[in-house]
Amino acid sequence: MEILLAIMIGFLYAAGIYMIMRRSIVKLILGIVLLGNGVNLLIFLLGRITKGEPPIIPGTESVIEGLYADPIPQALILTAIVISFGLQSFAIILVKRAYKVLGTDDLDQLNTTDENS
């Protein structure tokens, strides 16, 4: 399974980068989302994957024993998901606003601070 996931990571990265290099801002945001997912999966996989053993200490015990999934990558990814949500929602609204004010979502026309160019 690791091999398949590794290929999936590469695929997500490729898709993300390709989308970021488009001219439409909407595609740019989708690209960032895809790339962010790729990064999350990368962290998750590098922490090694374990099936069906969540890092939760069983009922009456005080220490977890035996095989269990690594909690650190999970904590990191959880943070990342939430932060990227903040980023995405802000970006989406910003794009909407920019389009309303400037009348374009073409990045090539948004590369100057001069109003009349």
Binding site: I9, L46, P71, I77, V82, L87, V101
Partner: protein
């Protein structure tokens, strides 16, 4: 001494507030500052000529060894008197020269700033504080050259001058730091005892070259000389003061000051002799081709600076005495010639030597001053110039390559003789053109200063012992441990030196009567400008600017995709360079054996959804399929023991999709905006990058994993934090502050979203 230096700065600051009231009659009164400073330094003469040294130390940044250490010895006294003396006359002169000028207060502010900085420079014993004053002189010079700031030429010359002297200043800092590194001190007087250590140090050559570069740029040595003629765009008092008498001698002063520390080596002497000789000859020859009075004086100044560097290069006691005396001679005659030129310019509105003649009839006292100045410059007895010239010949005759060096000196002196007479005598002789007949004598404030200086030149010539006891002897005591005894005399008897002097004067006089400055000659020399250092340097800087523009436009072209492309390409290059050479892929296919059907299903679903997101033409479909990617992720997390992640991903993706759909109808439709070719290019780049990431992941998976931190959390989650879900415990307890900050970020984002949604633009802020 600190007060003396600060006085100029304080006055400059004072002018900022009182400038408006100053422009009237107070200008003359401001001359009291340099005059009182002159008197103050004059009072030290008897002390200094007895061999005493006055010092004052004020701690500034002791931990860096940077202190305000002021030292008044023979050398600095000579310069201090020159700065304040010429300064006094220039202050007086300016009050008449620029009478009623709109920015007179500003001008005096710059002048006194400069005077203070220059005093600081020559009195500093600490290389670091010297550097600071050095830069201050460059800056005040910049403002004074560009004083007529509505003229394009002035601004350009000011920038050139600042550029060249600024580079020099930077190199001086480099040299100072190196010397400090070698000796552990920035005090020049402490370096004196470590001469051997410095000269045998591997960085010695580098330090010397840096100091040379600083001195050569400041003192306008070839090939950095070209800023000085340009600097003559400044009002004449400035040319007199900064660009002839004082500031340009700062480089000479530096060489003087450091020659006991750095001198003695082949590198030191040869370089200085070669550069000095080239400069003095090159610019002396240039005098022949100039028709602008100030141009003539500028080139003869450069030539004189060349002579000084050349003499310091010879480095014998005779040479250094000659240099010291020549500094005085030059200050006296060149400053008066500049002031006289200023008067001519002021009264006739021209400085063109071919048009000026016969002015003695209307400006008699000025003509007298000009004539004596020319005599001093030509070294005609009984002026101090004669003493100075003889000393120079004596020095070259006593040096290693006596014949060559003496010949060079004689040729230069002949040309300078010519230049002095053209500037000081020619405008006053011959027939007065009609248009100049109505000229009146200027204010005495203008013609007395030059007359005073040339009379001093005569007095010192008749009584050279004054110079000897006040400056020459104390300076030799500074420069040498055991100076030989000597005496300055006007009359040395009949000897080689006298013969050379006679030759100089005779040939110079003949030249003056034969060669006339014409436009034809000036045009001729301008044709050679394309190989002159100035043009080469300017072309270089223009080319550099063009290159910079191209470079910037290539990398900063304003297209986001190109930025991303470059970043990705560089990362690809770096990763493949580091990863691929030793890359061995040992794939563990056994992990594929226990892959279940639903895992395959999820992978396929994700794959399809991504492809659809990338290639669909419908925005809604793209957003929806991106939602599918997100939900597949939460399933994946669920299978691999991360229930918290699964829940978070699920809710976040739901929200994102909702948000997207809400604003989607307000966004434009997808259009294929890029060309097929660039899509292929980007696609290739993306695929290569993705593959590289896959390889990277696989190679990391081959390495063993460190579980130390995981173990710590697993063991302590319940013991220390009393939580059973380890991921939660990490987030809210062990890394609680991180989480808090994260929440603040989210709040800021939420506020931003809210603000953008509620924002109503006023009509005028909208872009049509």
């Amino acid at each position: 001494m600190l007060t003396a230096i600060l006085l100029g700065f304080l006055f400059a600051i004072f002018l900022v507030f009182t400038g408006k009231f100053f422009r009237g009659k107070f200008a003359v009164i401001s001359s009291l500052i340099p005059i009182s400073l002159f008197a103050y330094f004059l009072s030290f003469i008897s002390q200094i000529s007895n061999g005493e040294i006055v010092t004052q130390k004020i701690n500034w940044i002791p931990s860096f060894g940077v202190d305000l250490t002021f030292k008044l010895d023979g050398l600095s006294l000579l310069f201090a008197l020159m700065i304040t003396g010429v300064g006094s006359l220039v202050f007086l002169y300016t009050s008449a020269y620029l009478k009623g000028h709109k920015y007179l207060d500003r001008f005096y502010g710059y002048l006194s700033l400069f005077m203070a900085a220059m005093l600081g420079l020559v009195l500093s014993d600490n290389l670091m504080s010297m550097f600071i004053f050095w830069e201050l002189t460059s800056i005040s010079s910049f403002f004074l050259i560009g004083f007529n700031n509505d003229a394009k030429d002035s601004r350009k010359s000011a920038l050139t001058a600042l550029g060249i002297t600024g580079i020099g200043g930077l190199l001086l800092l480099g040299g100072a730091v190196l010397l400090g590194y070698m000796t552990g001190t920035y005090e020049i007087s402490e370096m004196l005892s470590q001469t051997d250590l410095i000269q045998s140090h591997p960085y010695y050559a580098l330090a010397v070259i840096l100091i040379f570069a600083a001195a050569f740029t400041k003192s306008a040595q070839f090939p950095f000389h070209f800023w000085l003629p340009g600097a003559m765009k400044a009002p004449t008092p400035v040319s007199t003061y900064l660009h002839s008498a004082t500031m340009v001698k700062a480089g000479v002063y530096l060489l003087f000051r450091l020659s006991p520390v750095l001198g003695g080596s082949e590198l030191w002497h040869t370089t200085l002799i070669v550069f000095g000789a080239i400069t003095m000859l090159y610019s002396a020859i240039h005098i022949l081709f100039r028709t602008d009075l100030k141009g003539i004086l500028a080139y003869s100044t450069i030539s004189a600076l060349g002579i000084l560097v050349f003499l310091i290069g010879i480095g014998t006691q005779a040479a250094l005495i000659a240099a010291a005396v020549f500094i005085i001679v030059h200050a006296l005659y060149k400053a008066s010639l500049f002031l006289i030129t200023g008067i001519i310019d002021h009264e006739t509105k021209t400085r063109d030597i071919t048009k000026l003649a016969g002015l003695r009839k209307v400006l008699m006292p000025v003509a007298i001053a000009g004539f004596i100045a020319a005599l001093i410059s030509g070294g005609v007895p009984p002026t101090l110039g004669f003493v100075g010239k003889d000393l120079i010949y004596e020095a070259t005759l006593g040096s290693q390559y006596a014949i060559i060096l003496t010949a060079l000196a004689v040729i230069t002196k002949i040309l300078l003789f010519y230049g002095g007479f053209v500037a000081g005598v020619k405008p006053f002789t011959g027939k007065l053109p009609q248009k100049f007949e109505k000229i009146h004598m200027p204010s005495p404030l203008m013609w007395i200063p030059p007359l005073l200086m040339v009379i001093l030149g005569l007095v010192f010539g008749l009584l050279p012992s004054l110079i000897e006891s006040a400056f020459a002897k104390p300076i030799t005591q500074v420069m040498f441990e055991n100076p030989e005894n000597f005496q300055l005399k006007l009359w040395h008897g009949f000897n080689t030196v006298l013969g050379l002097s006679a030759i100089t004067i005779i040939i110079g006089t003949v030249m003056y009567f034969i060669i006339k400055p014409t436009y034809a000659k000036e045009n001729f020399i301008q044709k050679l400008d394309f190989i002159a250092p100035k043009d080469l340097m300017l072309k270089g800087s223009t080319a550099f600017e063009k290159f910079g523009k191209l470079w910037t436009n290539f990398f900063q072209n304003g297209y986001l995709r190109d930025y991303v492309g470059i970043v990705v390409a560089v990362i690809i290059g770096l990763i493949s360079f580091l990863l691929l050479p030793n890359f061995q892929l040992r794939l563990d296919y056994s992990s594929l054996e226990d892959v279940t059907v639903y895992e395959i299903a999820i992978i396929l679903m994700m794959f399809a959804a991504i492809v659809f997101t990338v290639f669909t033409n419908s925005r809604l479909a793209a957003v929806a399929s991106m939602g599918i990617v997100g939900f597949s992720f939460s399933l994946l997390f669920l299978f691999y023991s991360a229930p918290d992640l699964a829940m978070t991903q699920f809710s976040v993706d739901t929200l994102t999709v909702i948000l997207f759909v809400l604003v989607l109808y307000k966004l434009p439709k997808y259009l294929k905006m890029t060309k097929r070719k660039s899509r292929m290019k980007h696609g290739a780049l993306a695929v290569v990058f993705g593959s590289l990431m896959t390889l990277l992941v696989l190679s990391v998976l081959q390495e063993p994993k460190n579980n130390e931190i995981t173990k710590y959390y697993a063991e302590n989650a319940y013991k220390l934090a009393h939580g059973k879900n380890i991921v939660n415990v990490i987030l809210v307890d062990f890394r609680g502050i991180d989480t808090m900050i994260e929440i603040s970020v989210l709040i800021v984002a939420a506020l931003g979203v809210f603000g953008l949604l509620k924002l109503r633009l006023r009509p005028k802020d909208k872009i049509k």
